[in-house]
Symmetry: D2
């Protein structure tokens, strides 16, 4: 099994291949088997009407943290379903999404994640889950 | 009740106020009470690893179509929950998301939407639903 | 492909094997490839605090209609995820749940269903969806 | 604020008013502000085709644990949405569902719960979440 620094480097390289992740500027800040943390620095073009983080990006960070957590366990996954609960308006200088594998499997990987402001993990903006399946 | 052209113009103005919608380039292409269609032209920066439309944007288009459909019924809504089923890889020149109000209410508006390629509504890439609540 | 009467008879036999379905008294009232309708006659022991149909049974009827619809397409399925939106209190003499396959697949079958009172399909009590996977 | 024994007694009385909970035989085994544990002894009539706990009851126990957790915070709640991830076939002599409030609010209470066999909390059969809203 690769060490954590290698997992981080591999995920960062993978993230760079996804054009939208590159535009966002997603950084992998921690990773081990079954668990990944990503960060995103706020930019005004991420906003919705009220200047909060847009639901697309709220969902996208949770889905991405889930997907990367799954990728530490099995390669070449696609999300088949994801679900987001928006608990509070998402406003921060730096957003953190932490994903984990809830149940690995050969045909489905269950994952969950939460999104919060850097340093404030106990006041999540949103929580969610994703079911990942291996690609053909 | 405003006519459909006015609903479209109002939604397009509202969408322009959301910085992320403006970056995406979302267009309102049809609207009436309880039902809205939006379109998005593909650009390479919307891609994930395989060049399919990124899950953030799949989810975002469905959530946005749901939100706009809700907005034809009640103003100043926020999504409290949304859920996305990814049926097929999303690849198209022009994406269409069609949202509708399933059940309006004073405290919660239930909505659903599907995402497909222009002209191919019977092969949706994704379907989803959102619960919207009026803001304080 | 079996005719519709055979599909109904097979599903009714299958339902009888599930002890909880037998206790409920679920009846298969229509079926064809990818689509199944079930009915349940109200009994007081199905109630929650207010005498509405209990959420367990609301969810169970939707999940069962989804599962039977999937079973017309592929055998030996288990639900891996299901999600229920409760639109209105569920009160009726006879409940009808109508399920359909949204997207069949070899590893996942996407389905959805709605629950309503007999004769009132346009005022659903609840709508929902399930992802079904073949058993090992 | 009532003490925990009073919370348990009140919830047990409430549960007894719900005919379906009474038929199931749900017991409140622990409760405090924002958190409730319930138990159910297996009976054969709870089974699906394979003799596992029926998805209706899997979902119902999670929804009930969520609802009771919410009830420690706000009275007269109804579930507006619930979602269940079925991780493993549910087989046990005694089932335990543990629910908690994730985010209380005046208009929506976000809750989550997991279901497992007595003494085996680290191998949950299912996890889920519910959004609860105060009744009119």
């Amino acid at each position: 099994m690769p060490d954590d620094a290698t997992i981080i480097a591999n995920l960062q390289a993978l993230s760079g291949l996804a054009a939208f992740n590159a535009w966002l500027g997603i950084e992998i800040t921690a990773a081990k088997w079954g668990e990944v943390e990503i960060q995103l620095k706020w930019r005004p073009e991420f906003g919705q009407y009220n200047g909060y983080l847009h639901a697309s990006i709220v969902g996208g960070l949770i889905d991405t943290a889930c997907g990367f957590a799954g990728t530490t366990v099995t390669k070449n996954l696609l999300a088949s379903q994801f679900s987001i609960r928006c608990l509070r308006p998402a406003v921060a200088e730096v957003f953190v999404a932490k994903g984990r594998v809830v149940k690995p499997g050969s045909r489905q990987i269950f994952t969950s994640a939460e999104l919060y402001g850097l340093g404030v993990p106990d006041k999540p903006f949103a929580v969610g889950d994703a079911i990942l399946v291996p690609m053909d």
